[in-house]
């Protein structure tokens, strides 16, 4: 059992949650994730660390309420318990002094981008963060990024905050200026796909953090298969970070859709049972 020690609602459907997990907190690194199962009938889902404290023994993650599991999770509060949490899973993001690094965080991907940007800054890089969302309400962690003291570019699709632009626009400008040594794109698959396409033109190495469907998260099932450079990789143990220029994003997006009908059904049923409104 893992006790919830922190909960904060970041937007209508986005929540930040912290749980007591001292052993995992001691090992967590940027880019890694945990596998979580809420209760006895729960499914196992991966959630990437958004923050952790080895000293205080907690890890945090941020999630958007999209299906039954995240819906159930959003109903839990500080003091409640989560049945299973295992990790840290996956290979940590490769952090090195690379020069100027642009970290793009789109939507909830900002949660994953935050520790990556922090680690990159600590490693001596000049970091620019491009934070994107559909609108101002969906923008998360802006203050936290500001507190890192890195350059921050905010964009929204509708211009309700920051620039009215897609994240690829500032990314492209920086690439054109020729000052980018490495880029990291973390967010919805479609966003990562376009970021990778943008940087490819300029030959800027780009790491993406993939989010395929997972079951165990330990390399035992292959649900998380992704094609990278024509080879099949297991997202959970070979990743989640991969070379964005080599990833087959069409396949990733297709595979993410396998259970969409089932997910809708399960969530609809759950919403009826718990008689709450999304």
């Amino acid at each position: 059992m893992f006790r919830i020690v922190h909960k904060r609602q970041l937007s209508d459907a986005v929540f930040e949650m912290g749980v007591e997990a001292p052993r995992i907190a001691r090992k967590a690194e940027a880019g890694q994730f945990l596998m979580l199962r809420i209760d006895e009938t729960g499914e196992r889902i991966p959630l990437t660390f958004s923050d952790w404290s080895a000293e205080e023994g907690w890890v945090r993650f941020i999630f958007m309420r999209v299906g039954k599991t995240t819906h159930k999770l959003s109903h839990l509060d500080v003091g409640d318990e989560i049945k299973d949490i295992a990790g840290p899973m996956g290979i940590p993001t490769h952090v090195d002094d690379l020069g100027r690094v642009v970290v793009v965080g789109g939507g909830v991907g900002a949660a994953v981008a935050y520790p990556v940007a922090r680690a990159m800054a600590r490693a001596g890089n000049t970091v620019t963060v491009v934070l994107g969302a559909r609108n101002a309400d969906l923008l998360i962690l802006q203050e936290e990024f500001e507190a890192l003291g890195v350059e921050l570019v905010v964009c929204t699709d509708d211009g309700s905050a920051g620039r009215k632009a897609l994240v690829t626009a500032p990314l492209k400008e920086m690439c054109e200026a020729g000052t980018v040594d490495h880029s990291m794109a973390i967010g919805p698959a479609i966003m990562m796909k376009f970021c990778a396409a943008t940087t490819k033109e300029f030959g800027v190495p780009t790491t993406v953090s993939l989010n395929p469907i997972m079951v165990d998260g330990t390399g035992m099932c292959g649900a998380c298969r992704v094609t990278v450079g024509g080879e099949t990789k297991f997202g959970c143990v070979d990743g989640p970070d991969f070379d964005g220029h080599a990833v087959d994003f069409e396949e990733l997006m297709s595979r993410q859709r396998i259970y969409s009908d089932d997910e809708r059904l399960a969530d609809a049923e759950y919403s009826r049972e718990c008689s709450c409104h999304k």
């Binding site: 052993r23 995992i24 090992k27 199962r37 009938t41 729960g42 499914e43 196992r44 039954k68 599991t69 049945k83 299973d84 949490i85 295992a86 990790g87 840290p88 899973m89 079951v215 165990d216 330990t218 390399g219 035992m220 099932c221 292959g222 649900a223 298969r225 992704v226 094609t227 099949t232 143990v237 396949e251 297709s254 595979r255 859709r257 396998i258 259970y259 089932d262 997910e263 059904l265 399960a266 049923e269």
Partner: protein, 484 residues
């Protein structure tokens, strides 16, 4: 030889020590099963098991050989003759005791061991007719024990505390057997399991209809009762390393029984289409995550109407029979050799066929077809058998221009598993074979001082009983190491 069938059950080679009983002749006592049509729609156990009368009647067929060859046929040399004698005498507790001396999980082994290749193949009666149904009797005794209240069960006595602490990584049959034996000796034992539930393949792989999870659960409870601690959600190599177990966590010895759980794919085009599963994923979703109860259980599984399973082992049979139960209209099993070479247990093949699985022998997939990201068919090539290969089986070879298409919306790959490198990557001083299996000596000692290993991680995918045997043997070696 003819005297084997003699009224007294005496034979020239193996006369009975004392005429305990008058052995009955004739065929085995059949085991009642759920009707094929009915069971194809549910996940309840297929075989019902013997009643006490049936078990006794079957035991009466045993001639109590002086030289009981059945025991040599058993990979862990259970004293089969004696537990059968106990049933003949009506002393079931004694039977359970004998059985448990060498096999900690008889209710499991009675169900999943390939007895037809082991003890039963070696039974004297098999030379002339049907061998004693040793597996069914074993299952009966195992179930009898499980049905008892915990304090009436045959629990191994726990020795006085040795003050030593042992860590066991993985809770499959190897880990469970090792933990049980270490605890019996008197060591303090903690099992570390990566998943949220213990049992290994017994829990996530072998389906409910063949091995009810309640049985696995009760067996594991017994270990807890003996004082073994089980920590789930502990991924060794990630949450803690083997080194950390021995330093910070203070364990004096470690047993690694993490299985061979990494699924192999064929590397053919279309393998990442939606609807293609590894058997591990398919079975894990259904068994461990209870996807057959979706949506009251949260994990979904793609329920194909036409399912093609690739492979010929137990894993392939389990996948095919699970697909039938999930409501598939048609399930095909594609295997590249012939039925004679199929490694699956005969009983499983027989059950699969009864339940409607269609066997397509001598064919091997070359491509999976899809539309809009989802599977629409499997292209396979016909095969023929050539000369025997290294494994002694005749090697299958493609027949040129013989490709044909099987219409299907799901493909399940049951073509084998490999060692998962997660643990070993974080323990570079444990020597591995070129295939990633852990190198050990006869007793299970690895190249790292104080670390032992056994089960599928050492042998590659094998059997429950071999894994258990290895776990127990390693426990004894660990004990000598700890005392030495």
């Amino acid at each position: 030889m003819s005297q084997v069938d003699d009224a007294q059950g005496a034979s020239i080679d193996t006369p009975p020590e004392k005429p305990r009983h008058r052995a009955t002749k004739g065929p085995r006592v059949p085991m009642r099963e759920q009707d094929a049509a009915r069971r194809a729609t549910n996940f309840e156990e297929v075989a019902v098991g013997y009643s006490a009368e049936e078990a006794h009647a079957e035991a009466m067929r045993c001639i109590q050989c002086k030289n009981p060859t059945c025991i040599d046929g058993c990979p862990v040399n259970i004293d089969i003759k004696s537990f059968i004698a106990a049933i003949i005498d009506g002393d079931l507790s004694e039977g359970v005791r004998v059985l448990k001396e060498r096999n900690a999980l008889p209710a499991v082994c009675g169900r999943v061991c390939p007895q037809e290749e082991q003890c039963e193949a070696a039974c004297v009666l098999a030379r002339k007719g049907e061998p004693v149904a040793i597996g069914r009797i074993e299952r009966f005794l195992g179930d009898h024990d499980l049905a008892c209240e915990m304090d009436h069960r045959c629990a191994p006595e726990v020795g006085p505390s040795t003050g030593k602490r042992c860590a066991v990584v993985g809770s499959g049959p190897a880990g469970l057997a090792c933990a049980g034996e270490l605890r019996r000796i008197g060591h303090e034992v903690t099992i570390f399991e990566a998943l949220h539930a213990p049992g290994g393949v017994l829990t996530y792989g072998i389906p409910e209809f063949r091995l009810p999870k309640a049985i696995v659960g009760t067996e594991i409870e017994m270990l807890s009762e003996m004082g073994v601690t089980i920590e789930t959600d502990m991924v060794i190599g990630a949450t803690l390393t083997v080194d950390e177990l021995m330093t910070e966590e203070g364990y004096d010895a470690v047993f690694v029984g993490n299985g061979a759980g990494l699924p192999v794919f064929m590397g053919i085009p279309g393998e990442n289409l939606n609807g293609v599963y590894s058997a591990n994923e398919f079975l894990t979703r259904v068994n461990l995550m209870k996807a057959y109860e979706f949506p009251s259980s949260d994990t979904p599984v793609w329920r194909g109407r036409k399912v093609a399973v690739v492979g010929g082992g137990n894993v392939a049979m389990d996948s095919a029979r699970t697909a039938i139960r999930l409501g598939a209209d048609e399930v095909f099993l594609a295997y590249r050799r012939t039925e004679d070479e199929m490694p699956a247990r005969i009983e499983e093949v027989h059950h699969a066929r009864e339940e409607g699985v269609e066997f397509k022998m001598l064919c091997s997939p070359v491509e999976i077809l899809g539309h809009d990201g989802f599977v629409t068919g499997l292209v396979a090539s016909r095969m023929e058998l050539g000369e025997p290969d290294a494994s002694g089986r005749r090697a299958p070879m493609c027949v040129v221009d013989s490709e044909f298409t099987i219409d299907c919306d799901t493909v399940i790959m049951a073509v084998g598993t490999r060692a998962n490198p997660l643990l070993s990557k974080a323990a570079p001083d444990i020597e591995l074979t070129s295939r990633g299996h852990i190198v050990t000596d006869e007793q299970g000692a690895t190249t790292k001082q104080g670390v032992f290993a056994g089960g599928d991680i050492v042998t590659g995918a094998a059997t429950v009983i071999l894994a258990m045997g290895a776990g127990k043997r390693a426990a004894q070696a660990m004990d000598s190491h700890l005392r030495g």
